[in-house]
C-alpha cells in the first residue's frame, strides 16, 4: 500500500487517462447505437446486415485493430478509442434492438391510438420502456471497455495498463496488482452507477422482481463476458 500512496500522483494521472480512454468510446457508442437500433427495428431488413457487422466487430481482437489503425491515426488516443467504440457498438446495438422489441405490442398500439406520431412514440414511449434492456447492454459495454483499455499499453496508450508493463519490466508485482485491483474496482463502480441510473430512470420497475432467466438477465448474459475480445 505504501507504494500506491507514494505514487498517488502517477496513479491519479493514469487513472484519469484510463477513464477517458474507456468511457469516451461508450459515450460514442450510445450516441450511435440508439438511432441505429431504432432504424433496425423500424426497417426490419436493415437488421440482419447490421447484426452481421456488429458480430464481426465483436470478434476483432483489440490489439490487432489498434495496430491496423496506427497507420491511419498515428499513435494517438484515437488508435484506442476507435476500436473500443466499435466493441461497445457490438454490444449496444443488439441491446437497443432487444430493448425496443421487448416493448409489448399493446403499448405501441395504445400510443398509436392516442395519436402519437411514430417519432414521438419512439422517443416518449418505446425508448423509456426499453431502458432496462439498453442499460443491461450498457453495463456490459462499460465494464468491458474499462478492462480492455489496458491492452493498449502494448502500443504505449493504455491508461493504468502502464503499470502492468512497467511492473513486468521491473519484476515488481505490487505495481501490477495495484493497477489490477484498481481497474476491477473502477469497473464494478461504473457498473453500480449504471444500476442506480436504471433505477432512477425506470421508477416503475421498482419492486418488480426479476426472475432469473427473464429477459433482462438474458440480455445481459447474451452479450455476456462480451464486449469484445481483448
Amino acid at each position: 500500500m505504501s507504494w500506491a500512496w507514494e505514487n498517488r500522483a502517477l496513479l491519479g494521472h493514469y487513472l484519469v487517462q484510463h477513464l477517458y480512454l474507456a468511457l469516451l468510446p461508450v459515450l460514442f457508442g450510445v450516441i450511435v447505437a440508439i438511432p441505429v437500433g431504432v432504424m433496425c427495428v423500424r426497417y426490419r431488413w436493415t437488421w440482419p446486415p447490421v447484426l452481421s457487422l456488429t458480430s464481426i466487430f465483436y470478434a476483432m481482437p483489440s490489439l490487432a485493430l489498434y495496430l491496423v489503425l496506427i497507420d491511419y491515426t498515428g499513435l494517438t488516443d484515437w488508435t484506442v478509442i476507435i476500436p473500443l467504440t466499435l466493441f461497445s457498438l457490438s454490444v449496444l446495438i443488439p441491446g437497443v434492438v432487444g430493448g425496443l422489441r421487448s416493448v409489448p405490442p399493446p403499448v405501441r398500439q395504445a400510443a398509436d391510438a392516442m395519436g402519437f406520431g411514430s417519432l414521438r412514440r419512439v422517443i416518449q414511449v418505446e425508448l423509456p420502456l426499453a431502458v432496462p434492456v439498453i442499460i443491461a447492454g450498457l453495463r456490459v459495454a462499460t465494464v468491458s471497455s474499462i478492462s480492455l483499455v489496458s491492452v493498449g499499453q502494448l502500443i504505449g496508450i493504455g491508461g493504468l495498463g502502464y503499470f502492468f508493463i512497467d511492473g513486468e519490466q521491473r519484476d515488481f508485482p505490487t505495481e501490477i496488482y495495484t493497477a489490477f485491483i484498481l481497474i476491477i474496482v473502477l469497473a464494478l463502480l461504473a457498473d453500480s452507477i449504471l444500476v442506480l441510473l436504471r433505477r432512477w430512470l425506470t421508477p416503475w420497475e421498482a419492486g418488480r422482481t426479476v426472475r432469473p432467466g427473464s429477459r433482462i438477465l438474458t440480455a445481459t448474459s447474451r452479450g455476456s463476458s462480451a464486449g469484445g475480445a481483448p
Binding site: 490489439l63 489496458s150 501490477i176 475480445a229
Partner: protein, 225 residues
C-alpha cells in the same frame, strides 16, 4: 503505402510461409494454445453450468463470475501471474482458462435455465429420469446458447493468446510483439492481418457448427436471438 498494401506484401512474400517462425507453424501453435485452454475451460464450465441450470440454483454465483470475468484486465492477469510464478513456462495457461470459463458457464446456465418448464414437466410426466430430462430435453434446447458461449470464449482466448506473446508465448502474437520491439511495422501489420483473419474464420466455423448441431426445430426461433 497503406496498411493493406503493407500487410498484403508481407503476407504474400514466400519467406513467411516456411521455417520455424513461418505462418503455418505459428498458426498451429496458436490453435494448440487455444484448443488446450478451451478444452480445460469446457471441462470445468460446462458440467457446472448444466448442473446449476438444471437444479435452478447458483444464479448468484453465475452472475458474479460473469461480472468478474468481464472486469478482469487481460494484460494485467497475464503479467501478474507471469511475475508471481517467476516466469514459469505454463503461466499463460491459467489466465487463458480463467478468461474462457465465464462465457461458457453463463451461457450454459442461462440456456438450461431458459428451457420452458412446460417442456421439462412434460418430459418428467413421460417418465424420464432427471438425467434423461437433462440429456434429451434441456441440452438440445440449450444448444444455441451453449454454442454462443463457446464462440465467445474461443474468440476471447484467440485474442488473449496473442497478447500472451508479450510474456513469451509462441503463436501468432509473436509477429506483433517482436515486430513492435524491432520497430518493423510490416511484420506487425502482417501479423495483425493473420489474427483478424483467424478471428473471422472462428466466427464462420461457429456459424457452421450451429447450422450442423442445432436441432432443426430450434433454428428458426433462435435466429433472432
Amino acid at each position: 503505402m497503406s496498411y493493406f498494401q503493407i500487410a498484403w506484401q508481407w503476407l504474400t512474400s514466400a519467406q513467411q510461409w516456411h521455417g520455424s517462425d513461418g505462418i503455418p507453424v505459428r498458426l498451429v501453435q496458436h490453435l494448440q494454445y487455444t484448443g488446450i485452454a478451451l478444452g480445460i475451460a469446457l471441462v470445468i464450465a460446462l458440467p457446472a453450468g448444466l448442473a446449476m441450470g438444471h437444479l435452478r440454483r447458483g444464479g448468484f454465483v453465475v452472475v458474479t463470475v460473469a461480472n468478474f470475468g468481464r472486469a478482469l484486465p487481460t494484460l494485467g492477469l497475464l503479467v501478474l501471474i507471469f511475475v508471481l510464478t517467476s516466469g514459469s513456462p505454463a503461466s499463460w495457461l491459467v489466465p487463458l482458462v480463467v478468461l474462457a470459463i465465464p462465457p461458457i458457464l453463463v451461457n450454459t446456465y442461462e440456456g438450461v435455465l431458459g428451457v420452458d418448464p412446460d417442456l421439462t414437466d412434460a418430459a418428467r410426466g413421460m417418465g424420464m429420469t432427471e438425467w434423461q430430462v437433462l440429456r434429451k430435453v434441456e441440452i438440445p434446447v440449450a444448444t444455441p446458447l451453449i454454442l454462443l458461449g463457446l464462440r465467445i470464449s474461443a474468440i476471447q482466448v484467440v485474442a488473449t493468446a496473442t497478447i500472451a506473446a508479450y510474456i513469451g508465448l509462441g503463436g501468432l502474437g509473436r509477429y506483433i510483439i517482436d515486430g513492435l520491439a524491432r520497430d518493423e511495422y510490416n511484420v506487425v501489420a502482417g501479423g495483425a492481418a493473420v489474427i483478424v483473419l483467424l478471428a473471422l474464420a472462428i466466427q464462420a466455423l461457429f456459424t457452421l457448427l450451429r447450422w450442423l448441431i442445432v436441432p432443426v426445430g430450434l433454428r428458426r426461433q433462435t435466429q433472432t436471438s
